[in-house]
Amino acid sequence: MNANADTEKNFNYFFGLLNLAAVFCIVWFLWYIFMNPNTVMKLYTPMYGFSLVVVFLSGIILMTKVIDYSAFIEKLPAAENIIWRGIIMTIVAFLLMLFLVYIVFWGFIGKFGIAYFSPDSIVAAGGIGAEPYAARENASTAIVYFFTAFLWISLFWSVGFGRWPWQKLSSGVIAWSRIFAIFFFVSIVYAVLFHPHVCYLFYPAQSKAGVDPWWGELVGTGSAFFGLGLVLCTLFWIIISDMLWEGYPWKWFEKDGEGTFVKALVTFIATFVLGMIMLFILTKIMNVVWDEAFVGGQYTDGPDFRYIHAGEIAGFFILAAFILKNYFNNFPNTGPIWLRALIRTIIALVIGMLFYWFYYSPLATFFLAKVVGFAQPGDTPLVWVLLFLSIIMVQWEFFEGWPLKKSKD
C-alpha cells in the first residue's frame, strides 16, 4: 500500500491531463484526415472506415496480448530506444492492418473461400445490389464482426487463461498456441453470432449458407447488433476487471501467479452474465428515455439500435477505463482493493458519460463533422472510440507511455 501511495504521490496528474489532451488532438487530426466525410480520405462510409479501425486495434491486441511481441524483440538494438521501438511497432501494426484486410480477407479468404469477405467476389457474383460500394460495405461489415469476436476472445483469453497451459514453454510456443486457440474460438463465435446477419445482407438471403438470424424472435430484431451489443457489454467487464480491479476477483483462481482453467471458466461465465445484465439494464434505461422499442422501429425506436447503443455506451466506459488507468495512474491507489476498484469504476462511469455527452453534443459536429442527434443511420461512436483506444494503446504498448512515463518503473 505504501508503494501505491508513493506512486500516487509521485504521479503528475496535470501532465497526465496534458497528455490526454494531446492524444485527443491526435485522434481529432487522424479523424480529420481519414474519417471526416468532408475532408481528405473520407473513409467513414461508415463500414469501410469502421473495418480499418477495428482491424488496426485488433492488430495491436494481437501483437501485445496474444503474441506478446516484446519477448521477441528484446534483443534487437532498436528495441532499447523507446521512440524507435514505438515508431517501428506502430508501422508494423499499420502494415498488419493492411495485410489482414486487403490480403487475408479481401484477397485470400474472400477470393478462395467465403465470397462475402471480398468486395470483388461479391460484385463478380452479381445479383441485386451487388455494385462496388454496397459490396465494400458488406465485406467491411463482415470483417468488423469477425474482429469484434476476436477482440472479445483475445482479451478474455489474456485475462482468463493468461499463459496457461503453456506457461512452462517458450515464448514462441505460447504465441503460436494462443493464436490457433483464439482464432478457433473466434471462428465459432463469429459463425453463431454474426455470420447469419451477413448472409442476410443479400437479396435473396443466402439461406443455405447461414440460418435465419436465430435471435430474431427473442430480441425483436434479426440484426446482429444484438450480438455486437452483448459482446461489447461483456468486454466492458473483462476490461474493467483487468484494469481497474487489478485482475480481481479472477486472481483468486490463479495458481503460482498463472492462469488456470477454472480461472478462465469463471472469468468467461461471470463476465458474460454481467454483460447480459448490463445489456438488460441499459435497454431498460433506454425504455424509460425513449419508450419501449418495437419490431421494425427505426432510429431510437428500433430494437437493433437499442442493442448497438448499449454496446456504444459500453465503448465509452471502456475508453474511460483506459484513460483512468493510463493518464491518471488508476486513481486512487490507496485503501483496500475493493474500495479502490469501486471508486475507479465510478470515476470511469462518470468519464464515460462525459464522452457520451460529448459525442451527442454539437461539439461532435465541430470535431467529427457529425450531425446532431441520436441513431443517425450509418453513424456509430464505436469508430471514434476504437480509434481513440488504438492511439492510447500505441502510446502505452509501443511507446511504453512515453512521454508521460519515461522509464519502465
Binding site: G129, G220, T221, G296, Y299, V371, P377, D379
Partner: protein, 365 residues
C-alpha cells in the same frame, strides 16, 4: 429459434435467469395528453414525381466518391442529368365537401420539375392560389433544390419547412444562391443548384414543439404536420411529416422520405392523437434506398403487419425489392400503373410488379 427453446439452452449454462426479459420490453406508454386533430372526408394524392434520380448506381457513386452518407450534400458535384425530384400534390376533401390543395416538396432538377409541373397543370394552380401552401419534408437536394420551379410561379406562397436548416439552404430559398461543388478529378466547379426567385411569403419554421406546444402544426381540420428532429444522411437533420385523420377510416401519413421510420410515425400518432386508428401511408419509406438488403428490413415487414396498416402506398426511397417482398408476405401494398412509362425518363430499377406508386399515379385515402 423460439424464445422458449433459446431460454432452455441458456438455462443449461446457468444464465437463463439474467436473460429473462432482456429483449424488447413491453410496457404501457406513459400517459400523455392526446390531441384531437379533427377529421377530413378524404385525401387524394397525385404523384407528380417520385423519381428523385433515375440511375441508382450513379447516385450512390456520387455519394460514395465524395465520402459516403455523412457527407455534406453541397460539396458533391452531382451528375446533373441523373437528377429528377420528389413532389406531391395533395387534395383534401373536407367534411363539408370542399376541396383544398397543397403540395409537398419541390423536387430537384429544374428542367425535370418544369416538365413535371407543366404536365400536371401546376403553374396555373400556383398562380391562381388553388394550391394554397407548400410543405417541405426535409432539406435534402431531391426534395428542395428545385424550389425555383415553384417560386417562379408563386414567390409568396406560404411555406412550412423544418427549422433545422443550414446557411446554404436558406441562401437558396431567400438569397438567389447559385451553389457549385468541386469535381475532385478535374478541379472544375460544377453547378449543383440555383434559385433566382427568392421566397417572399410566410415561412413557418417547424420544430418538434409544434405551435402552442402541442407537438404539431394544424394546417386545417384533420390535417397536421409533425416535425421529427432526427439526423439524416448527407448532413441533413429533421423531417416534417403530414398526418391526415380520415373519417371512419383512420390515420394516414404522407411523407417525403420517412426518415424517422414508418412505424415510429404510427407510434407517435398512437401516443398523441385522440381516437387513433391506423389506416394508411403514402411516400418514400426510406428502407432499401439502394436496392440492398439487411435483416432489419425483414423486421420492418413484421412491424408493418403488427401495426395493422391497412393500405401502404410507397415509392421513391422505399426500395422496389422491399416493396415486392412486403407484398409477397401479405403487407397491403397499393399497386401502381404503367403510366410512368409515358414520361420522358423513368427509373432504372422500376419493375413490372408495379409495387410502387410511380409518376402519374393517384391514390385516395
Amino acid at each position: 429459434m423460439k424464445r422458449r427453446t433459446f431460454l432452455k439452452s441458456m438455462a443449461a449454462t446457468g444464465v437463463a435467469a439474467s436473460m429473462t426479459g432482456a429483449g424488447v420490453l413491453t410496457r404501457e406508454a406513459e400517459a400523455r395528453k392526446k390531441h384531437d386533430i379533427g377529421e377530413i372526408k378524404s385525401v387524394k394524392i397525385d404523384v407528380l414525381t417520385e423519381t428523385s434520380w433515375f440511375d441508382n448506381d450513379q447516385f450512390k457513386k456520387d455519394i460514395m466518391d465524395y465520402g459516403g452518407g455523412m457527407t455534406n450534400q453541397y460539396i458533391i458535384p452531382w451528375k446533373w442529368d441523373n437528377a429528377g425530384g420528389y413532389s406531391v400534390l395533395l387534395t383534401v376533401t373536407t367534411l363539408e365537401g370542399k376541396e383544398r390543395k397543397f403540395m409537398l416538396d419541390t423536387g430537384w432538377n429544374n428542367e425535370w420539375m418544369d416538365y413535371i409541373y407543366e404536365k400536371n397543370n401546376i403553374p396555373a394552380m400556383l398562380k391562381s392560389e388553388e394550391v394554397e401552401f407548400m410543405v417541405l419534408s426535409h432539406w435534402h437536394l431531391d426534395h428542395f433544390w428545385g424550389i425555383e420551379s415553384t417560386l417562379k410561379h408563386k414567390p409568396d406562397i406560404p411555406f412550412y419547412v423544418p427549422k433545422t436548416y443550414y446557411p446554404e439552404d436558406m441562401a437558396l430559398l431567400k438569397d438567389k444562391a447559385h451553389h457549385k461543388a468541386k469535381d475532385k478529378n478535374t478541379g472544375e466547379m460544377m453547378h449543383i443548384c440555383k434559385n433566382d426567385v427568392p421566397h417572399t411569403g410566410k415561412l413557418v419554421l417547424c420544430d418538434p414543439k409544434g405551435e402552442k406546444g402541442e407537438g404539431i402544426y394544424r394546417l386545417m381540420d384533420g390535417v397536421a404536420i409533425r416535425n421529427f428532429d432526427v439526423p439524416i444522411l448527407l448532413r441533413v437533420r429533421g423531417e416534417n411529416v403530414l398526418y391526415f385523420n380520415v373519417k371512419d377510416k383512420g390515420i394516414v401519413t404522407v411523407t417525403g422520405c420517412c426518415h424517422p421510420g414508418i412505424l415510429s410515425l404510427f407510434s407517435y400518432a398512437r401516443k398523441n392523437f385522440k381516437g387513433y386508428k391506423p389506416y394508411g401511408c403514402y411516400g418514400g419509406l426510406h428502407i432499401s434506398l439502394f436496392e440492398t438488403w439487411e435483416p432489419k428490413f425483414d423486421d420492418i415487414i413484421k412491424g408493418v403487419k403488427a401495426f395493422k396498416i391497412k393500405r401502404l402506398g410507397c415509392n421513391h426511397c422505399t426500395g422496389w425489392i422491399w416493396a415486392e417482398k412486403a407484398a409477397a408476405e401479405g403487407v397491403p401494398v397499393i399497386k401502381g400503373t404503367d403510366k410512368y412509362k409515358t414520361y420522358k425518363k423513368f427509373s432504372t430499377v422500376a419493375k413490372t410488379s408495379n409495387v410502387f406508386l410511380t409518376n402519374g399515379d393517384t391514390v385516395t385515402f
